[in-house]
Structure formats: C-alpha cells, structure tokens
C-alpha cells in the first residue's frame, strides 16, 4: 500500500543488515508482537486499537432491514475498511482498489465474516422479512504496519463490546426498545479469530532461496511500516483459541519452506491465545467500569448475589 513512500538505499541496507544480525530497529525480537492497547469509546461498539505507531478504530452500528432472499434465516453483516490520507500520505482518498487495500479488506472479511465469528442466524428477527444488519466500519487512523492484525483485533473487540437494542416481537409487530429503556443485548460471537502477520526477508540470493536448502529466510512477526516496505513476502495466519486455523493467506512472495510455515502457524497460535485473553480481560474491565456508574445511578436496591 505504501507505494509512494520511498526508502533510501542506505537505510534499507541498514535495516536488512540489522535483520541479518538478528536485530530489529525497535528492539523487538523476531517473534514478538507489539503491545496491543485497546481503548473503548463512550458507546458500545466503539473500539480503538493502538499497536506501536498503528492506530485503527472500529465502530459497529446496527439497523433493521430485509434479509437476502436466498438466506431468509440470516441477518446481514458487513465489514467496510476505509483508508484515507489521514493514515499516511501513501493512501488516496476514496480509492480503496490498491493491491494492499484489497488484500487487507479480503483477509479481514475472510477472517471474521466468512469464518462465522458472528452468529448471523441470531440476527434474524422474522424469517424472510426482518433481520438485523450489523455494520463494522474500520478506519485506519495511523499507519506503522500491521494493519490486518490491528484491524482484526479491533473488529473482534468491537463486536464483543457492541450491544444492540433489545426488541420484542409480537406477531408482525416489532418493538425496538431504546437503550435507556431496556438493557441492550450483546451479539452472539462464536469464536474470536486473531490475525498474525509474518514478514519474510531473504538474506541471500534468489537462487539460494529457490534451489538451496539452507532455509535461511528470516521471518519476523508484526512488521513495522519500514519493514513492510522492504519485505520479500508475507503470510497472514488467522487462528482462534480452539486451535482452528481460520484463514491463511500467503499470496505469493518469497517461497518458504512448508515446514517453517507450519512453525510460524504454531508461533501464531501462542500469540492468538495471548491476544484473545487480553481482549477478554479488557472487555471485562470496561464492563466493570460501566457497571460502576450503573450501580450508582440505579434506583434498585442492592441484592445479594
């Protein structure tokens, strides 16, 4: 995506040479994920994820519409990714057809939507005529690499966080209860997919990569923008805590040994596990914070729990 950003020859040489000697510019080890900082907005379903210099915001919204004719029992779920020059000069306004943008959007789509992370059958209100449409808008606010990973965390956290207004169905009549009238309800989340992106570098010649058997290719996790600019190939693995691979995308790039790819998948699993725990932890904290106010404002008497 960062086609217009040019990196000087000496700088790229410096970074690559450092990688060859097992160093990364930000001092991380090769398989270290950046710290994920999750913060919540005032409303449900507003999540901002910060990973190093990358900042992604996700906002969930819902409305009631008609389901698709061929899928009367399912609700609608749409993820839209927006990149704008706000994130960096390399992005064009309103143009999301660049290679990277398309790949990024497709991977998030596959990871979250096609894997059935959201229970879309639970969004059905009246079969064939009314259903919820859930929309996740992902905005890239700042770019320092790792958009896919950050977006995936943001979308999943936002979905977990979001609460849609409660409804009651009486025959054909549907009543939507405003949030301040009745406690809103959470969405049905079936599993939490986490994306981990690896960047590959080839320290030697292409000939060695293709024909040699040294397998000296370098794989680093969660590259920064500079590393992304210089990388020779990339692999995005999406997994959940149930040891299920949800999606893998290595769309060309540096050919990698199958065995080392498998190793990467296993590495990704530990990260996915950790990140999932962190997300749940943060959600719990936020819930507590909100409930604290709710308790204060509540006119109900305290009950023994």
């Amino acid at each position: 995506m960062a086609k217009d950003i040019q990196i000087s020859a000496s700088e790229s040489k410096f970074i690559l040479e450092a990688l060859r000697q097992n160093y990364r510019l930000d001092g991380r080890s090769f398989d270290q994920f950046r710290n994920v900082d999750i913060s919540f907005g005032k409303e449900y379903g507003d999540v901002t994820v910060v990973m190093g210099g990358t900042k992604v915001q996700c906002r969930i919204s819902s409305s009631i519409t008609h389901p698709y004719e061929d899928r009367p029992f399912e609700g609608l779920f749409l993820i839209s990714t927006e990149s704008s020059p706000m994130a960096g000069p390399q992005f064009e306004n309103g143009n999301n057809t660049g290679d990277e943008e398309v790949l990024c959007a497709r991977i998030i789509e596959k990871a979250v939507r096609r894997s059935g992370a959201l229970d879309i059958e639970g969004l059905c209100i009246v079969a064939g005529s009314k259903c919820w449409a859930i929309r996740a808008d992902v905005h890239f606010l700042d770019c320092d690499g790792g958009f896919i990973d950050a977006s995936c965390i943001a979308v999943m956290t936002a979905l977990l966080h979001y609460k849609k207004p409660d409804i009651t169905v009486l025959g054909d009549r549907i009543t939507v209860h405003p949030v301040d009238e009745r406690e809103p309800v959470s969405l049905g989340i079936l599993h939490i997919p986490i994306c981990v992106t690896f960047s590959f570098f080839n320290p030697q010649d292409t000939e060695e990569n293709i024909k040699g058997d040294s397998n000296a290719e370098i794989a680093i996790i969660d590259a920064t923008l500079r590393e992304e600019l210089l990388r020779d190939g990339t692999l995005t693995v999406t997994l959940n805590k149930n040891r299920e691979v949800v999606q893998v995308s290595k769309a060309g790039g540096l050919p990698m040994d199958a065995l080392s790819l498998m190793e990467n998948c296993h590495k990704a699993y530990t990260i996915a596990e950790k990140t999932t725990d962190q997300i749940l932890e943060e959600l719990k904290k936020d819930e507590k914070k909100r409930n604290k106010y709710a308790e204060i404002l509540s006119s109900e008497n305290n009950r023994e729990s």
């Binding site: 959007a105 293709i210 040891r243 299920e244 691979v245 893998v248 769309a251 050919p255 199958a258």
Partner: protein, 246 residues
Amino acid sequence: MSRLEIYSPEGLRLDGRRWNELRRFECSINTHAHAADGSSYLEQGNNKIITLVKGPQEPSNKSQVDTAKALLRVTVNLTKFSKSERSKSSHKNERRVLEMQTALVRTFNRNLMLHIYPRTLIDIEIHVLQQDGGIMGSLINGITLALIDAGIAMYDYISGVSVGLYDETPLLDTNTLEENAMSTVTLGVVGKSEKLSLLLVEDKIPLDRLESVLAIGIAGSHRIRDLMDKELRRRAEKRVASALAR
C-alpha cells in the same frame, strides 16, 4: 435435500476418485501462436483455462516502465458461462478477482527473472472457460506453462493444487461439490522443492491437521509438475526433431 456422501466408507469420492487421486490433467502449449508469445490450454478435471502471455514487450503506458525490471500484469477473466448457472456480473472488478490477480502477480514476481527484461511489460491474460473447484491452482499451472512457452526465464516450475479436509482425511484436488462441503487449502509449490510460494486457507481447519494436508498437497503439486514437464518435453522433442530433419 439429501446430503451428499463426500467420502464413502469404502474410500471413494463423489466422482469415483480415491483420496489421493488427481483429476484428469491435460495440457497443451503454443495453442494461440498468433495471438500471443506464449499460450497454454489446460484442463484439470472440469476446469478449462486458456492462458496467454504477451511479452516481454514495450509497455503501452510510459508510467509502467521500471528501469530495473519487467513489470508483470495478470488479468483474470472468469467468463459468465464458466459455471453451470450463468452469472449476471462479469466479475471484472470484484474484490475476489482482484485478490486472485494480486496473488498471482506476487507468486510469479518472485519466480521469474524479471531483472533481465528491464523496461518491459509481461502481460498475462487468463480466460476461464469452465470452472469446477480448485481454480487458483489451475490458474497457476496454466500461467507456468504459458510463461515457459513464451521463453521467459524463470527459476523453476510453480504448480498448484487444492486439497480439502474431510473429517480427518485430506482429499486431493477438490472439485466444486467438495469445495462447498469442506474447507480447502490451495498451494503453489516451487519445482520439486517443499517451498510454498502460495498458501491459501479459506475456511476453518484444525491447526494440527494442516500438516498432513500440506504434505499431500505438495506431493500432488509435484505430480502436476511432472505432468506439465512431460508435455513440455514432448513438444520440445517434436520441435527439435523437425529442426534436425533439415
């Protein structure tokens, strides 16, 4: 609707294959000698694909010039009649197709010796006449053949195949019915090595099963490489024989 028996207890699949059998694989090169520098026609089961390679040639657009290496461009045309039901859209700017094109460009970018063709454009045009699952693998095979036919220097073959996972059994070279019923993995393997240039998993697969799926996929790709190699050698020998007959 009765559920299809994807894999019978006797070990047979819907089309009578066993778990480790490829579909019928036929290919020919130089099928469109006048239209392109290199061309191939590939049938992998019911997938029918025409691939044309034009170039290396002068880029039509000056902005496409790269002074260090050739530029690779892939256009995939999924014809409207390629599935049993005629599709309404032309698929042209669908994200799925754009993603396929990007993946193909990136796969071959690394495998072609683009640096020996500076300031040129290599244009690959693919027409999918019929599709029946595992299309990405077939596209890779078609492109490899057409590029070799065009005489463009490359490091090695890339062969592609898709493998499904049914329960605990990997099924090699899936067709549409199988693809819809289970999760599949698409691989692009470099030559006879175990290096993967392309690896796509689109549905849930248990992490611990992935390895066995990759293993059979790599073996299948190697077999496809051999089949392509056989056809190329047959053509080459014919060519050399007619040259020697002078």
